[in-house]
Symmetry: none
Subunit: 450 residues, 2 copies
Amino acid sequence: MEPDYARIEEDAVRILDLLCRQPSVSAEGRALDETAELVEELLAGAGFETKQLRADDGAAAVYGDQPGASEYTLLLYNHYDVQPVDPIELWDSPPFEPTQRDGKLYARGTCDNKGELAVRLAVIRALRENGGLPIRVRWIVEGEEEIGSTNFDEIVRRNTEILRADGSLWEGGSARLSDGRPELGLGFKGALGIRLDVKLLATDAHSSLAVVAPSAAWRLVEALSSIRGPDGRCRIPGFYEAARAPTDAEKRALAEASSAEEGELRELLGLDEFVDGLTGPALWERAAYTPTSNIAGIATGYSGPGIKTVLPKEASAWMDFRLVPGQHPDEILTALRAHLGREGFGDVEVTPLVSALPATTPIEHPFVQRVVRVAEAVTGARASIFPLGPATLPIIASLQRHLGVPGLSAPDNPTYSGSGAHAPNEHIRLEDVGPAVRFTYALLQDLAAA
Amino acid sequence: MEPDYARIEEDAVRILDLLCRQPSVSAEGRALDETAELVEELLAGAGFETKQLRADDGAAAVYGDQPGASEYTLLLYNHYDVQPVDPIELWDSPPFEPTQRDGKLYARGTCDNKGELAVRLAVIRALRENGGLPIRVRWIVEGEEEIGSTNFDEIVRRNTEILRADGSLWEGGSARLSDGRPELGLGFKGALGIRLDVKLLATDAHSSLAVVAPSAAWRLVEALSSIRGPDGRCRIPGFYEAARAPTDAEKRALAEASSAEEGELRELLGLDEFVDGLTGPALWERAAYTPTSNIAGIATGYSGPGIKTVLPKEASAWMDFRLVPGQHPDEILTALRAHLGREGFGDVEVTPLVSALPATTPIEHPFVQRVVRVAEAVTGARASIFPLGPATLPIIASLQRHLGVPGLSAPDNPTYSGSGAHAPNEHIRLEDVGPAVRFTYALLQDLAAA
């Protein structure tokens, strides 16, 4: 029986609205218990046997299990936490009051990642009403993804029995690129997130003393300059050595991947062109297979209206390195510390904040091929496959290591390149909910034959 | 007739108490009219003919004029405004409720600069009771010193006739250093305060894009690195060229200046030693005659708990350059802009925020010599003379340019190195009021013979 897709879409938007009213900012420890309870209630209401999984500390992960007609088990991964909302003044509507404008739904978390959670839940509710689940579905919804999934690995390690599955759907992917093609992601970069701290004085001093007392701000600038050259290359010795290049199959996938979002992304960023004039497959290959050394933030001294002439007592920088297969965050951290020591920056304290391994599912894996076939059948368009995404999803390495389960980011996610993940005015286009719902509905049925 | 110094001291503390109850924070535009009226009332009550002087906008400067037995005219400069009180939580008593503890008087403005104003006024009241003023005294008390004396130059330019004088006393100086020596200052560095802004993206982006989109944070770090080398030297071509070295007389003065406060300052900053292990005259010579290029603040991206992996759309830095005689803030600004252009940082916007000329009175000037003699006669101790202070007092250049009047910071200021100007728990030691009163009383009498 053909389901009433319009009703499922409406249900998904209703669930999304509810989820986005929770200000579940993990970096600030806001509303995490409340949101975990809401998610658990929603899963239980959709027929899942639920519980909350925890490591020794940290936010709870909500777990659900529901048998289906076939033995095939699919593991779904989502997160209920979101990024901070700053700079709050750039939002056109309050970030935790979902608002529809011009066919879009605005709120923090709409695209990352409550929208995908809502689509999956609405489809599962519909399948139940339509005769029950065709396969067994297990679901883990964590609350610490935006702070590096700090406890996820431990939670998976302690719960391998109840998490075992034949295939898994991570977050991410895109239901419909602007050229109509569905997007799949088979892996992500790793990441090392750190804070650099320099503290040289007991108190902020009058800046007239800048010539006789040491400057934490200048020390930080010099330390940063030693880490990356003006050519954009990381200067940590050995940084690029272990990085593996894309295989031929990966290069082919990239060459055939959609470039439909490229212009939109460039426009969103306000760029005339990407660095080095990159475009098409070359742009994606650079984005995917070149590791980065990014400054995510710097804070020191006074930064308000006018000027306050102080010699700041301390200075801090936040950095993230995105790592490609072959690189290991622990090794990069060790190399960074050794480098700073050698360059004379032993007074710069390095605190690791995020550590994630790069991880991919091979493009030749049968699970990948099956999902691609379903996506292409539902949309009638060639799937756009990214063998390695430039972002990071630390949970993949945990799922691979402890469960050995293949996975991917599927086109069950109502998001597009202009959605503004992590940025002000995060939103989804309501027109993308339909394709996400149809793909998810079809995939769950198709997997029953796997 | 020998005056009753104890009574003058009591009077000074009473006046200071009254002045410090006014929360005259110029940066916040608080209570400026009320404080100007209070000051005007106090001056009028002490026999001055008064009025309020204004430029086109800004707070009023209170003006007073009172003839004396001799034709000699002394111009006094003070300011009635104070610094903001933040961080308010670090104050042990409310900043605008003067409180005595352990022989100290705590309140915002006690040392900077209402204490000196109170001492001068108490002495003038006593001299009037004791037969009248020996010399003519003119007085200007502005309300914008803590925000850069924005309108002072214009006020002086418009009122040269009523401000003319033979000598002037600026604010600053110290009645009694911890070794008992009186302190004089003959000049201050100039200053150029700027903000550097880099904006490269229309919006903060996910940091996974760091390898294909330009980074404002890295651009700013690279631009800053081009301005100052790790050796602490400014890299702007020509920066040091016009800077004049101290004369032999200035070097002699520095060699004989007191180092009594050096240890206290080092302790306050939490330093084992100053840069390059500097101490004694070498420390003061470096502080005074080396121009600085200081980072007062940097702000970009996310700087809260944890990490937010963004590629920041923009980055800003606040810098102040303290300039020695010979250097001109306009020329340094031009040189900085040309330097950034040449180094490929044409995309870094430079906004000037503060501009002040360095200015000094020559140590050989008869006015200086006379004040030194009085200070040494009153205290019985060798005067400690700083030919050039490392901070900035923009009003000096205005007084020199428009009035051609020699001046200095005299030991009529009941302050010491631990007073905490601009900091929480600002205070004076009550024991320092006596020396300040005696010096001021003696100087006004002595100048009648000039």
